[in-house]
């Protein structure tokens, strides 16, 4: 078992709709899809963010694109001009998701290093 950053196996982008942040997360290689599916769930992602994301997190799976769409409510401190955050539009929420630490088996890890 090894611990890696989601960033090592995924890429994506964040956007905003009001106070809702969406982050799409794609596997960098097709074989990583299963790892993301297992490791990055609404529950684990909420544990990662804590009270930075105040509302519900929903994950939509899009296997045909090898990715997932995470929709996080009340995630931007109010959103747009309401938010007092420096990043009121959540442009860095994508990299904040990628910062999540996930666990992979030794076998998976050997594929990632290769």
């Amino acid at each position: 078992m090894a611990e890696i950053y989601l960033n090592d196996i995924a890429h994506g982008r964040s956007g905003d709709k009001g106070d809702t942040s969406n982050v799409c997360v794609y596997a960098r290689k097709p074989e990583y899809y299963k790892i993301i599916e297992r490791e990055v769930t609404p529950k684990t992602l909420h544990a990662h963010f804590g009270d930075m994301v105040k509302g519900e997190i929903v994950r939509y799976d899009v296997p045909s694109l090898g990715g997932f769409n995470f929709v996080m409510k009340h995630a931007l401190g109010g959103g747009a001009t309401m938010s007092l955050r420096l990043d009121s539009l959540g442009k860095s929420m994508g990299s904040a998701v990628m910062r999540m630490k996930i666990h992979v088996t030794d076998e998976e890890m050997s594929g990632i290093i290769a």
């Binding site: 709709k17 939509y60 929709v71 007092l84 955050r85 420096l86 990299s95």
Partner: protein, 455 residues
């Protein structure tokens, strides 16, 4: 087989005109659409128009796009669509008329679509029992009704298509949905029916991939940003559609990248449920979609499906919420973060003594956690040798004078606080905070009209 190509010329109000002008000059396109409106842009424009009735639209469309490339586009037969009209569609049309007139473009047809702004209809709709429920938060619409700046429905492609049917060379809208600007030319050219959901969905997704300009061609690209060629000459994406294909590419001889990963990052951007991506024209289903590289800087999009459009339209209401101020102080090694924290403490103790009644205070440290907040690395190891750190304090209050109380307390910290505090950027200002009330309105509350003005 008939093929129609449309370029995405602008991703927001303030975007660079370079890619749009390059595209007009060098790409084989029949249409270009320019998106200027983000969620809050309409409120900013409404506020500008209150101060000066001649404002309230994006003048850049005329000064930076049309003046530089509009005549050439017209001569080549490239028709341009934009929501630059914002809150002042007729003001934008008049600016275009003056430009076309001065450029001796007799016969230039300016199409425009009115009817998205329904602020004056609110009292009547309330009387009829419509409650304007906020779909993000609880709250009673009646409490904000006298603080509203703007009230605009996201309208679909029909009015734009009607302008094209009438021969418009340029089409101006207010709050048309971004993607409707791109759907309209395809629907016009291919004669798609109003209930041809699968085709309408293809047109919408073409728009979705183009409406953010450079973001669809290697800008803001996480997958491999270092590998994006010539980012200083970033091209914007172009969508090509035939009866049975849908491809994304870009203009020849420009920077940027069009590949599976660049399109994927934009594909789900600001989408909620991929099986129900709601637009005024169609409910789009991209939950089974495919994106495949079919050539250099060329991908093919497949399996985009559409379902019946919603019977209500999204309504964007911007209203006055309160006031905010942001102050910053910088600190250097050693112990930069500790000093900044200490300084924040000192300021907050002073503010407590002054009795500042803030409704919200947000303290963060630029260089440490102002972007990633809870998930930033706050380990001792990462903080101990920090070169520098900027304390940022943001205060929100419904009362402007409460908000202003902190402003004079910041610069004295240079002499009265932890060592090395440096104040920069001048005294902070109190800024108005506008908020959005996202809600719906019944489709039949709107009276959408298409007009043509010939120069």
């Amino acid at each position: 087989m008939k093929k129609i190509a449309i370029g995405g010329g602008q991703g927001f109000w303030g975007d660079s005109p370079d890619a749009a002008l390059h595209m007009l000059r060098h790409a084989d396109i029949q249409y270009m659409a320019c998106d200027y409106l983000a969620e809050l842009t309409m409120s900013i424009m409404a506020k500008q128009q209150l101060k000066d009735p001649g404002k309230g639209f994006a003048p850049d469309f005329v000064t930076r796009i049309l003046k530089e490339g509009g005549k050439e586009a017209w001569e080549k037969g490239i028709r341009i669509l934009t929501n630059a009209g914002g809150m002042n569609i007729t003001g934008c049309v008049e600016a275009i008329r003056q430009w076309a007139d001065s450029a001796s473009m007799k016969g230039y047809k300016i199409g425009y679509v009115t009817g998205d702004s329904i602020k004056e209809k609110i009292p009547q709709l309330l009387k009829e029992g419509w409650t304007f429920p906020n779909f993000d938060y609880d709250g009673d619409f009646n409490e904000i009704v006298d603080k509203i700046y703007n009230c605009n429905a996201y309208i679909g492609h029909e009015g734009i298509k009607e302008c094209l049917n009438q021969g418009a060379d340029v089409v101006i809208t207010g709050r048309a949905a971004d993607s409707a600007l791109f759907l309209a030319p395809f629907a016009h050219e291919f004669g798609w029916a109003e209930d041809d959901w699968d085709n309408l969905a293809r047109g919408i997704m073409a728009g979705h991939l183009l409406e953010c300009g450079g973001q669809g061609a290697g800008g803001n690209y996480m997958y491999d940003w270092r590998g994006v060629p010539r980012m200083d000459e970033l091209g914007f994406p172009i969508a090509e559609i035939t009866d049975d294909t849908f491809e994304i590419t870009k203009a020849p001889d420009c920077g940027g990248i069009i590949c599976e990963q660049s399109c994927k990052e934009q594909f789900l951007y600001e989408v909620l449920d991929p099986a129900n991506y709601m637009t005024p024209d169609v409910n789009v289903d991209i939950s089974q979609a495919t994106i495949t590289q079919v050539g250099p800087d060329r991908v093919r999009i497949g399996n985009v499906r559409g379902k019946q459009k919603p019977d209500k339209l999204k309504l964007c209401v911007g209203y006055h919420k309160g006031w905010k101020t942001v102050s910053m102080l910088s600190f250097a090694w050693p112990d930069a973060y500790e000093k900044a924290q200490y300084c924040a403490d000192v300021i907050m103790k002073k503010m407590a003594r002054r009795g500042m009644k803030a409704d919200d205070i947000h303290i963060s440290y630029i260089g440490v956690n102002s972007l990633h907040l809870n998930v930033a690395d706050m380990s001792e190891e990462s903080l101990k040798n920090l070169n520098e750190c900027v304390l940022r304090i943001a205060v929100f209050s419904e009362d402007k004078s409460e908000c202003a109380k902190i402003i004079p307390e910041i610069s004295p910290m240079q002499l009265n606080g932890p060592p090395g505090a440096s104040f920069f950027g001048g005294r902070a200002h109190v800024q108005e905070v506008m908020a959005l009330w996202p809600t719906y309105v019944p489709r039949d509350a709107l009276d959408i009209q298409a007009h043509i003005l010939e120069v």
